[in-house]
Symmetry: C2
């Protein structure tokens, strides 16, 4: 049997059955799921994934960072020289010549009370891609690996599995994980992982041919534009600061307004200024003041100190630094305006990552072949692809999120859009690996 | 022995010894004290007070709200008709004719890690007034009672003892105390108090001739003006709100700035606006945004809700209502400006209290007699006197706070100022009760 590669489509009914079954694991009962990293429900989802992989006749693999994979070995795995089959008929020069594995992944963990599409769609679609390739007997030059990365959401560390696989996991991040050391230790124990082992999950750079991911947009752009597929041009850089505005505690009744060094004023003025700066001068960037802690925090005491949590993101390295400088200058100005001291602590960094232009082009070709509209923009969210910057070509596509909702049970992507995304993923993987 | 009343002065050395001993109880080691209401250290201070009272040969009394008193009975207590003695030679008509007890009080409890003067000075001075009157054999027409009120600071309820004595304690305030029900229950148990008993501490209105208090200013006005005594014209009204600015949680990376309903913006804009309103239009008032709680409160989630703790104070009833209206209108405006919903909950009220003009005049006369400078202003802080509004005449004086500091170990009033205040208290009590 010969197959016309360009006519291959994922099996929508089978993928829906997989997705629906998965959505029941850790279900919040209102459309969402709670499968925080290495929790019982998350591990149950991974057990389900393993059975899906084995039922599909694919190789199952779990590494020492807990990453779970389905593997479809390359046609040339046993030493044969891979040749594009006649049926594939690719016109372009293959992008991935020497490397052995094309990763297609996402994650099965969710935030607490999150949505059922974030991550899960990408894993289910990746698995479906492998099932289609396998059942159609397509001979590919590289291994296809559908991978579920550990702790993408950062309930514990963030990008834990992909960073470990890429050899980029910072030992400090395990010693002082953002989710708390005790939670990490308990999670590793539940999953049968250990700290030393996690660092052994690193794969040789040469073994990685590329990384593809299908994800929901988690924003409103595609929906608003009425476009099927978003081709990610870059993943934003992300930086966060704890800014402390420091004044003086005073009696809130007997201290005249003019005698106060009220820390709330600097923090409040900065929150407003940060928004103005981004909207006025950095239209491609975002900033968020997600938290303020008031110290001592009483009705009747003038705030002595406000610790403010600031995070900002930019798809462009130069803009990123300029935005950083503008925000820090503003913080200093607002502190000075109200007679406050400013202290800052920067404690999380990701640099902006460009997506492979070759893969972006291939995604666009696939969309065109499938009759799907597409556009290109930066991802405002962090994704596992970030871990592979400079290690292998990275490509990522988005499908529309209804009302832009994400990280909440109301998160929704229409099933037709899920299928469209999976077909673009399939066609692109075939073009790249064929 | 006849005594010229106007020449009587408190015994500075004895008062200093009392004050210094008291300052060691619950000492924080850096000049401050921690004697939160009904804690072990607070109860130890009360035990010390009892021994001081008994050593002075004064009657000791503790009521069912835990208020501790030294009592010096009136000369006419046993049915005699009180007559001003020739030595007193008051020119004005006595202010307090029918009532039987002039309370002179303050409190021995402190805030956590507070100062050693706040409250303690007033109790020690009141006790010293009674010692002087007793040892000089002065015959007064009313009982003098030096009283230490329970929980002035509100670690548990606030003005608990004075409100109970005045018959103004709200049963709700014990059911849902601001310091937490469990802390109140444990404190009452430590002190041997019970809820039912506390309400039985109410005294007949006719038994209260007046209430006098000496307190530290807890502000900078006297120090800045170089004036000895502040005669309190009013105790401010105080009202507090929890204002909830409600927006929508969104992904702080993938949600465009223009698509956000960021609760932090309304709260921040309000904090700045509240200050402008007070400073611009209500110069005698103060307002404080003492706390903001961000929900969910994460670096990477747009704040869905900010609960803001607002408190404001005014010495004047009409201004108080106008300020309330202006602040609430501003909160609504700022919420609307950023597409947020506003909810408000008002959960503490004290109306502004005017001090007795007769007692203010008597304080001024005493200052003049003693060669002390004086001025008049409203107290920005709440004091126990507030409980007696409409029940008996109230009078209060302040002595200067170094650098305005209070509710902190660096709280300080020079001893000469403490002595000045105690002498004004003594002379005023004699004029009123003579």
């Amino acid at each position: 049997m010969t197959v016309l590669i360009s006519s291959l489509r994922i099996n929508s009914a089978r993928m829906l059955e997989s997705f629906s079954t998965l959505s029941l694991i850790g279900s919040t009962g209102d459309g969402g799921v709670s499968r925080v990293s290495l929790s019982e429900s998350h591990l149950a989802a991974r057990t389900w994934f393993r059975s899906e992989v084995e039922n599909a006749g694919l190789e199952f693999h779990v590494d020492s960072a807990g990453n779970h994979s389905a593997i479809l070995p390359a046609f040339a795995l046993a030493g044969e020289v891979a040749q594009p089959t006649g049926e594939i008929g690719l016109s372009q020069k293959p992008l991935l010549l020497r490397a052995s594995t094309l990763l297609i992944g996402s994650h099965l963990d969710s935030v607490l009370n999150g949505g059922r599409f974030d991550g899960a769609l990408g894993v289910v679609a990746a698995l479906e891609v492998l099932r289609i390739v396998k059942e159609n007997g397509i001979r590919l030059r590289v291994n296809l690996e559908a991978i579920d990365f550990t702790d993408e959401e950062g309930t514990l560390v963030g990008l834990l599995g992909s960073a470990a696989l890429a050899g980029r996991l910072n030992p400090e991040s395990l010693k002082k994980p953002r989710g708390g050391r005790q939670n990490l230790v308990e999670g590793m124990k539940r999953a049968g992982l250990d700290e030393e082992g996690i660092f052994k999950a690193t794969r040789p750079k040469d073994s990685l041919a590329g990384y593809l991911e299908l994800h929901i947009e988690q924003g409103k752009r595609l929906e608003r534009m009425g476009i099927n597929i978003g081709i990610v041009s870059a993943i934003v850089g992300i930086r966060s600061y704890r800014l402390s505005f420091i004044g003086r505690a005073d009696h809130a009744g007997s201290t005249l307004m003019t005698d106060r060094a009220d820390a709330s004023l600097g923090a409040s003025a900065f929150a407003l200024a940060a928004r103005e700066i981004v909207m006025g001068s950095f239209p491609n960037c975002v900033a968020n003041v997600g938290k303020m802690d008031f110290i001592p925090g009483a009705f009747n005491i003038v705030p002595a100190r406000v610790d403010l949590c600031l995070e900002f993101r930019s798809p462009d390295a130069e803009q990123f630094e300029n935005l950083d400088a503008a925000l820090m200058a503003s913080a200093k100005e607002q502190a000075g305006r109200f007679g406050l001291e400013l202290r800052s602590e920067c404690f999380e960094k990701h640099v902006p990552n460009l997506m492979s232009s070759g893969i972006q082009k291939t995604f666009a070709d696939s969309c065109n072949d499938l009759g799907l509209t597409h556009t290109s923009f930066a991802s405002g969210a962090i994704h596992d692809g970030q871990s592979f910057d400079g290690i292998c070509p990275i490509g990522m596509i988005f499908v529309p999120s209804v009302d832009g909702a994400s990280h909440a049970p109301r998160e929704l992507t229409k099933w037709d859009d899920c299928v469209n995304g999976a077909n673009v993923l399939l066609q692109t993987a075939l073009k790249l690996a064929g």
